[in-house]
């Protein structure tokens, strides 16, 4: 039985025109690419579009991929950018009727978390709960949390993708998790633990 090639070997083969190697590489990473897109965009349709854009961009950029970062890190960076592009496109779309909660929240994505999110997700299942809680989370917090907990990237990789210092990544992930836990906890009627009022403290690491 053949030993599966690692990503680096597959990348080299694909760069040399080996379609099979590219197929293997892409299938290995597609689910996580889609997961990143799904969590950042918040819905299946936009995630599908973003994931497809990301895969195409990977093909276009493959020749320039130099292997300094892992293929996964590179792929998730592209998926992140594709997802953020998708969100920007969604915000620019003319809205005639039927706004969804993601569109509403995306209007002020750099502003505050939605304090009413907890009330709106009380009746939802776990998967829907996390969707609504993520939608209420400002994008600056949502993306690093997704890259950490879905893409399993370390702080340094996330910092490189977002072009912010590692300390900022660390604090944003902490804040993001705190807000998510608080929202879900409140929705479940559990005001202990994460929902406790935070104590005034430090500024975010620059």
């Amino acid at each position: 039985m053949a030993v599966p090639l690692d990503d680096a070997a597959l990348v080299r083969a694909a760069q040399g025109g080996d379609r099979g190697a590219l197929d293997q590489l892409f299938r290995r990473h597609y689910d996580r690419v889609f997961g990143v897109c799904r969590r950042i965009t918040g819905n299946e349709a936009d995630a599908a579009d973003a994931a497809q854009e990301a895969m195409i961009a990977m093909v276009r950029g493959l020749a320039r991929f130099d292997g300094r970062a892992s293929f996964g890190t590179w792929a998730y960076r592209i998926a992140t950018n594709a997802s953020l592009d998708e969100l920007r496109r969604r915000r620019r779309r003319p809205i005639v009727a039927g706004r969804d909660h993601y569109q509403d929240h995306d209007q002020d994505h750099h502003e505050h978390a939605d304090p009413t999110a907890g009330e709106r997700i009380e009746q939802l299942g776990d998967r829907e709960q996390i969707d609504v809680a993520l939608a209420a989370l400002p994008e600056d917090f949502r993306v690093p949390v997704v890259l950490r907990d879905v893409a399993d990237l370390d702080y340094a990789d996330i910092a490189a993708i977002l072009d912010v210092p590692v300390g900022t990544v660390k604090s944003r992930i902490a804040r993001g998790r705190g807000l998510l836990a608080s929202t879900i906890s409140r929705a479940n009627g559990n005001h202990r633990g994460a929902s406790e009022r935070p104590t005034p403290a430090h500024d975010e690491t620059p």
């Binding site: 889609f34 969590r39 994931a51 895969m55 779309r93 978390a113 633990g193």
Partner: protein, 280 residues
């Protein structure tokens, strides 16, 4: 303290629990966490959040295969020649299928009309040779326009929709629309699908561009940028909206689009501003 204050300050307990969860806490911090029931509870809630986040609903197999097929289509494209490498490649949009013949016929109508006016002015003088020349030019121009319209039609018949598009530069036509009524007239014509937009339609302009034709092309792709659409405004369309035509609405390049659900017609600029909206 309100919930909004959560955004303005970092709870050190959250940071400590988060660092612990990610394995980046120092030995002293680890000891602090493990000695604190409150912090352990917090970590349990973060762990639950992480599990929920990681539990991503899987994409449909068809979605995955579609994405991979699109990627491999890109991979399988033959390498561009050096001359073509610098050219913008225009992605294809099947919704544009009727626009070319419509614009060609509109251009022909305008051209014949303009030459007719010019010829009339020429006839009022004594220059008969000029008049004859005009007449000849009008015939040639008319024939050219008709040929172009016929070619567009033939091309669309001969090629599958996915291959219809533009490559490279050249002039591009955009309908000049100045009023909501004209926008509505354009839409009515478009809904007739193959009928040329003559009644109620304004003049046509040739919006020449330097090498990428009136925004109908985008600069060549760089790194991870995506150039998936012809006009920027096409990105603004929702799933329910369909492209009708490239237009110049009150001096702004835009597209006309129709909401297939409500029947509303929109003029949408490249920055997604809705310049006009008219009812069905």
């Amino acid at each position: 303290m309100t919930d909004h204050d959560l955004n303005d300050e970092l709870n050190p307990q959250h940071e400590l629990a988060s660092a612990y969860l990610d394995g980046v806490a120092s030995p002293a911090e680890r000891a602090q966490v493990e000695a604190s029931p409150e912090l352990l509870t917090l970590i349990a809630s973060f762990t639950a959040v992480r599990a929920q986040l990681a539990d991503v609903p899987p994409g449909a197999a068809a979605t995955r295969e579609g994405a991979l097929a699109a990627a491999f289509a890109e991979f399988d494209e033959p390498a561009l020649t050096p001359a073509a490498a610098g050219a913008a490649i225009i992605p294809l949009n099947t919704k544009r299928r009727w626009a070319r013949p419509v614009l060609s016929v509109a251009a022909a109508v305008l051209l014949v009309g303009a030459i007719g006016v010019a010829a009339k002015g020429g006839l009022s003088g004594d220059d008969k040779s000029s008049s004859a020349s005009m007449e000849t030019s009008a015939k040639v121009a008319s024939a050219d326009a008709a040929t172009e319209a016929q070619m567009s039609s033939d091309t669309m018949t001969a090629l599958p929709p996915s291959t219809i598009g533009y490559i490279g530069g050249g002039a591009e036509a955009a309908l000049i629309i100045d009023t909501p009524e004209q926008l509505q007239a354009l839409a009515l014509t478009a809904l007739a699908d193959t009928a040329p937009p003559t009644a109620g339609l304004p003049e046509t302009t040739a919006a020449a561009s330097e090498n990428t034709a009136s925004g109908d092309t985008l600069p060549p792709s760089t790194s991870d940028e995506f150039t998936s659409y012809a006009r920027e405004a096409l990105r603004c369309l929702t799933a329910e909206q369909e492209f009708l035509a490239d237009i110049l609405y009150q001096g702004t390049f835009a597209i006309a689009a129709r909401d297939t659900v409500t029947g509303m017609i929109f003029a949408i600029a490249d920055d997604c501003t809705v310049l006009a909206a008219v009812g069905p």
